[in-house]
Amino acid sequence: MSQAQSSSPTLFVVDDDEQMRESLRALLSVLGYEVLPFSTPGGFHRYYHSEMPGCLLLDIRMPRQSGLELYEQLLREGKRLPVIFITAHADVATAVAAMKSGAVEFLEKPFDRDTLLNRVQSALELDAQWRGQDAAFASLAARIEVLNERDRETLQMIQAGESNKAMAAKLFISERAVEMRRSSLMKKLQVSSVAELIDLTSTHRILAELQHLKASQSLR
């Protein structure tokens, strides 16, 4: 998967503790990352838009709004961003809650540089992956969007594994007409073979399900 967005990924650091926040910023910037620190979840929330790639280093224990709450809020709003929860003491309850909400990583303070680097790296990779999927789905959706009623009918039949002959019989048209519908459909979806067509449609279904899952997660 390639980077979908042109802008470089940013590490958003949200921690109310100034020393912790600034020390993270110092370490991550000398490691060559773009770092943007926030002292409150609200500050980050106001700033962040879903197009911004990167990952979130989030302190769990914060006044007013905890890291978990912020993460849930982001999910509810469909802003999916990999999160590295930073905690002083990862007790089971918080860990389970964080895992359920889809957080990828946990970091227990104090942590060493390599661990941090590993976590950050995998989080950024996940973000890139997510963004790639999103982009693919978006283009698929755009292509499927342009199909007319006749094309969709044809597609459904192809997916069902019907032969040209059977389709012609069901639609009360000639086999030649079926051939023409097929080539028109494949042209619109920019595929060159039936195998490619099937792969595209099933990918779309999986991505749609993922989107649906994401939506239902946020409703939880």
Binding site: Q19, S23, A26, L27, P63, R64, S66, H89, D112, R113
Partner: protein, 523 residues
Amino acid sequence: MVPTNPQPTLEERPSPSADALIRRLGRRYLLVLAVVAGLMLVDQAIIQPLLVRMDSYAPVINLAGRQRMLSQKLAKAALAAEGAPDAERRDASRQELKGALAEWIAANDALRQGSEQLNVPRIVSADLAREWAELDHDLQPIAAAAQEIIDGDAVGAQSAATILAHESAFLERMERIVDLFELEAAQEVSRLRVYSLTIAIAVASLLIILGWLVVRPATRAIRRQVDDLELRVAQRTAELAEMVASLQHEVAERKLAESHGRQLAAQLAHADRVASMGHLAIGLAHELNQPLGAIANYASAGDVILSQAGPARDDRRLQQYLQQINEAALRAGQIVRRIRKFVSRTDADASDAVDVDLGALVREVLELCQFEIRRAAVVDVLKLDSRPALVEVDPIQIQQVLVNLIQNALQSLQSCPADSRRLVIELEVDDDWAEVSVTDNGPGFDVADLDAPFAAFHTTKVEGLGVGLSICRTIVDAHGGQIRIHPAATGAQLSFKLPLAKSPQLLPLNEPSPVFQSDAVCR
């Protein structure tokens, strides 16, 4: 030891018998007075008339003396009438004789019978009666002869001779009668003396009796009373001395007990703080991890910079990170000190009362408990009064109270569903007091007895000593404040209030918590 009156009878015994004695003595005194008064009446009734009679003896004796003189006059007039040279002189003498005779007879009668007119009493005695009878032998002839001369029947000098013949005898008798009168008077005087003496003796003996029967017992009674009184005073003094000694002993014991009590309370408070510390330990570990994590990060960052060789190396930044490491290490040290301070002190007498802002104290405690609150899945709300709440307290002790209240609330909230656990901490300030209340929506207290939870070792929990609220009350009381449970339909509300400090200077807490804001809603 409680001093008791060892002889309660001593105090009460004299009153009835003394009353009786006084009544008895009073009766005796009145009796003797009555007798004396009676004697005085007797004196008036007997002696006085006798004295009056004594006065009348003198005229009697006078009259009797005059009788002698009259009898001589009688004789002289009779002789003159006998020897008169002419009739004229004879008549004159006869007239003289006639007057003298009448006077003489009247005086004689008066002496014998007594006379109001001549103011002479009748004086009688056996001797006098005999003398009077003897006197008649001379008196009658003299009177008859004198009458003969007056009448002119006299024969020659016969009558005058008769008068002369009887006169000397008469005078003699009269002399004796006068003596008898005098004797009678003297006897009267001696009788009077006897009477007076008798009465005087009676009065004197009555006085002696009075002394014997009244004064002596009264004196004795008074002396006994005085002795009793002195004895009682001595006893009382001894009792009082004993009481003072026992009181001093008691005071000393009480002081000792108090100091023991204080020590125990301090030890208990310390044990409570250590127990609280157990709960707080996780939160404090987190707190400590902040600077430790920061130190690790800065150190790693420094390491990365050092690994960059040559002119690209940013030494200024490196220096900056080292400085940050230093600050974080200092902060970690402060946290450790705070923990040590919260747990260590056991001496209740060393009260470190300073002027602090109760709001800052509340925020600090809330921070101390933050992790626990989070772990208990409790929504906590902090409402601070906009006015400053400056109180003069021992910050550690007041923090302990707050920690206790918050932990109680958190424990009680465990029985609630996780999504409805709510904890409100509120600080209100008025003119004289600052009041902190901790409210939860847990099962609450038994409204019937809102005082019971403050008793030591009262607990409804499975774990714990049940000393938390008791210690809270001890601490709040020691600060001149009040702690109480508010009756509530649901949940529990505990509050304590402290008097606002009078002096205006504010010593800042050693760890301000800038993260928390007034009226902030925290989670």
